[in-house]
């Protein structure tokens, strides 16, 4: 028996449309980035890359990412553990709250942080009196990046941990294992691939975040300028090639992320087929 709509004509048309759209909206822009970056040759590309401001932007972006990942890793695991292994009033509400960063526009998130922690804000005033500056400095950028990326790990883990249930952990506790032993030897091995997947997504977003960061960073060249902000600054300076050089770095990171994600998914389906 044939499936509904499975006619050669229909199938070919649909495939053609899909390929065309993918090429037009996904592949062409990606190719354009690299074409523009190398428009004036490899030497200009190298010169643009070694520009001190660009190097500073790369350093800051990597620093923020490296800080964000472990913090949100621990936070995500903790949250998923809490939501899937314990029953308490407000559990469902908490599960909904996790999604707030997905629902809110990053610019709004940045503005809220600016209002709270800025010099005239509620908390910022107190911080200012104690000579601590969060906004227009790297701690502010870290804060909003943490906010924007905090759901990724938890969102990956919650459905998996719900499906796996608590039986293996219960078995471990009846065998006398301590809480830490259970986590290290039973829970963690069971969630490690989902965890890695969450980290990859967190990484991609932390590197690429523009909206929230642009509100709180102040974009001081060489100091609080991240790579995505740097792209925009260069472009506004009419340095198109420079802007695309920086952009090509971001695109490269994105491609690496996709490759890692695909590798994990391939591994996951293979494991499923085995068991």
């Amino acid at each position: 028996m044939r499936r509904i709509g499975d006619r050669t004509g229909v199938r070919r048309t649909l495939i053609a449309v899909a390929v065309l759209l993918a090429a037009l909206f996904l592949l062409l822009p990606l190719a354009a980035i690299f074409a523009q970056a190398f428009a004036e040759g490899v030497d200009t590309f190298a010169a643009n890359l070694s520009d001190p401001d660009t190097l500073a932007a790369i350093r800051l972006t990597l620093f923020i990412t490296v800080m964000t990942i472990p913090i949100n890793l621990v936070f995500g695991v903790f949250l998923a553990w809490l939501v899937t292994r314990f029953d308490f009033p407000g559990r469902r509400l908490l599960q909904t709250l996790i999604d707030i960063p997905f629902a809110v526009s990053p610019v709004v998130a940045g503005l809220v942080y600016l209002l709270l922690y800025g010099r005239n804000g509620w908390i910022g005033g107190w911080l200012d009196a104690h000579d601590i500056q969060l906004m227009f400095a790297w701690p502010g950028i870290l804060l909003v990046t943490l906010f924007v990326t905090c759901p990724f790990v938890a969102r990956e883990l919650i459905p998996l941990m719900q499906a796996q249930g608590a039986r293996e952990e219960e078995a471990a506790v009846t065998l006398g294992a301590s809480g830490w032993t259970i986590f290290r030897r039973v829970t963690l091995p069971n969630i490690r691939w989902a965890l890695l997947y969450g980290v990859i997504l967190t990484n991609a977003r932390a590197v690429g975040e523009f909206g929230a960061v642009s509100v709180v960073s102040g974009a001081i060249r060489g100091e609080t300028n991240t790579l995505p902000l740097h792209v925009e600054l260069l472009y506004q300076d009419y340095n198109t090639v420079g802007a695309f050089t920086a952009a090509s770095l971001l695109a490269l990171i994105a491609l690496l992320t996709l490759a890692a994600k695909a590798a994990l998914e391939w591994r996951a389906t293979r494991r499923e087929r085995l068991s």
């Binding site: 039986r167 293996e168 219960e170 009846t174 065998l175 006398g176 030897r185 069971n190």
Partner: protein
């Protein structure tokens, strides 16, 4: 190690899971907790294990008060219905887990742990599977690994939650016999949960029948079957045929059916077990119960015969020996007469049992 529960209760939110109950399990006993789903048997087992906390009451293992002792310090072995093996560990590592999780000063050497785990695997006849992963084993094999894992720390008490519930009938039979054997050999105290009355009656020294968070009866399988404390126990332990009618002058009538009974006048309901029905060609002096065969199923040593009649609201089930089956040439549509060898009656109010054996 004996187990004593005193006045144990448990509520989940507004629902009562266990009403106040007392239970003593003797040292070395194999006790079955039997009941329909929602009867509280699993909750009771998890409370003994310490995986759930009772709202009130006390639990003792021998002289030791374990009411407020954490699961990990209770020295119990627990076997889960769906095995709960650590899926990312080899079979050997699963069995060795309890030993490797011991605090460093109590932990045997690596070699000793390996050797003990291997001995346990030999005991469950799975030494050839030491390096496999749980997903590569059959259900019955997984459950044996889970049992070896639970016994690795030489627990005082072994608790099993529907241990054979997820297995097919044949494997179940084998494992049952094998568990009984193991229990007698190693002489620990075991409590297991089941909803299968046959399993409970075959495996246990004593059976606890539960319903709605209450203990209905605790007895040996034989006493339980012969002298059920109330109607619930009677109906739960086997198939039941019902006969309801008016009694006058020592005879119960129901439509065209008549049966001599020794009961006061009034409306009565009699309960009859399938193996207590005798089938014959003609009515007897004490019984006139005409029926027609509607279905026949040979199952093992006997034949299950379904009977219908216009005086019956729901069909009856009779089990007949193959010799009688052939002798009476039983087939669908055949008209026969039932002669009860024995019947049971539970008065509605006090639910006290009353039996009458009919000597024909």
């Amino acid at each position: 190690m004996s187990i004593q529960l005193r006045n144990v209760t448990k509520r989940f939110g507004r629902a009562t899971a266990l009403e106040p109950l007392d239970l003593t399990v003797a040292d070395g006993e194999l006790l079955g907790l039997l009941g329909p789903s929602g009867s509280g048997k699993t909750t009771l087992l998890r409370i003994i294990a310490g995986l759930e906390q009772a709202d009130s009451g006390s639990i003792h293992f021998g002289e030791r008060d374990v009411t407020h002792v954490h699961v990990r310090d209770r020295r119990i072995g627990f076997v889960f219905q769906h095995y709960a093996l650590f899926r990312h560990m080899s079979v050997l590592d699963n069995v060795a887990f309890g030993l490797t999780a011991l605090p460093r000063r109590e932990r045997p050497s690596r070699g000793e742990i390996q050797a003990r785990a291997r001995r346990l695997l030999e005991m469950v006849q799975l030494e050839a599977f030491a390096d496999r992963y749980p997903a590569q084993l059959s259900g019955g094999q997984q459950q044996r690994v889970s049992l070896a894992r639970a016994l690795a720390l030489r627990p005082d008490v072994l608790l099993l939650d529907e241990p054979f519930g997820a297995l097919d009938a044949k494997v179940r039979q084998d494992l049952r016999r094998w568990l009984r054997h193991l229990h007698d050999e190693l002489n620990f105290t075991s409590v297991f949960v089941t909803h299968d009355q046959e399993e409970a009656l075959e495996l246990s020294d004593r059976v606890v029948v539960m319903s709605n968070g209450r203990i209905e009866q605790v007895d040996t399988p034989e006493t339980l079957y012969r002298h059920p404390a109330n109607r619930f126990v009677f109906e739960f332990l086997g198939d039941v045929n019902r006969l309801e009618g008016d009694v006058r002058d020592g005879e119960l009538t129901c439509g065209s059916a008549r049966l001599a009974v020794d009961l006061p006048p009034g409306r009565h309901e009699l309960l009859l077990r399938p193996h207590e029905l005798h089938l014959s060609d003609a009515p007897s002096a004490t019984a006139h119960l005409p029926v027609q065969v509607t279905a026949v199923a040979p199952v093992g040593a006997e034949v299950r015969v379904e009977l219908a009649a216009d005086w019956l609201a729901e069909p009856w089930l009779a089990t007949v020996r193959h010799a009688d089956f052939e002798h009476l040439t039983i087939q669908r549509g055949r008209r026969l007469f039932v002669e009860p060898r024995r019947w049971h009656r539970f008065a509605a109010v006090d639910q006290q049992p009353a039996d009458q054996a009919v000597t024909a």
